[in-house]
Homo-oligomer: 143 residues x 2
Amino acid sequence: MDQQLHFITFATPDLDAARAFYKDGLGWDPRMDVPGEILFFQVAPGLMLGLFDAEKFDQDLNSSTPTDGVCGVTLSHNVSSAEDVSSTIDALVAAGATVIKPAQAGAFGGIFHGHVKDPNGIVWEIAHNPGWRIDDDGTVVFG
Amino acid sequence: MDQQLHFITFATPDLDAARAFYKDGLGWDPRMDVPGEILFFQVAPGLMLGLFDAEKFDQDLNSSTPTDGVCGVTLSHNVSSAEDVSSTIDALVAAGATVIKPAQAGAFGGIFHGHVKDPNGIVWEIAHNPGWRIDDDGTVVFG
């Protein structure tokens, strides 16, 4: 199996709230939007983020215990300065996110970061990491 | 906030089992491996998958309720034929995965797919989707 991820899909209890947050609040451009079913955003080369109605998510997995959301996952978005961490968190809050951990120095790696939850409870870390970069060919480098 | 994901990080109760599965079982190449802390694999251009010790994951989020794993998330890996779905699922099982849904025709989109759980409970869908492709510039195209 190649070392390659193509989709990440989240059980989303409130798809309308997700649309309002990512599309209307953050200005993201959905690649596909099927109300009541699924909402897709491309979030890296070759990679889609899918927000999938939670009941349909369970059906797809043949799951007998209903999922009411996501746990144990953080999505991270890196920005180019500590100031941008704070302003991006402000933008997320303005769009409807809730702060979990305000912008602050991280415990290791020299990062400066903060965490929010989107309206469905999906956790986003916004981080400035001076030891991280993406080379022109897409290779991630840790410094 | 740009429409861009840089890291996806999972709370991982058993990091040694994760290493055995992804590195030894699937032959993936870790970008960073700090035993007892975190294991990183690059899984798309500019995107890292982080498997983070579950206790440290909780500390990082200042969480008072311990996470014992991941819920409400599916990672998908697309392959080029229905036969490859079955053989990839076989390879995952040989590496230590458990089948949730055997390879079969999907409910919509004309896909053929199956689902497994890795040793920490992370769900992978293996899919053949004839209506999906990645263009040379990384753009994902449906249908």
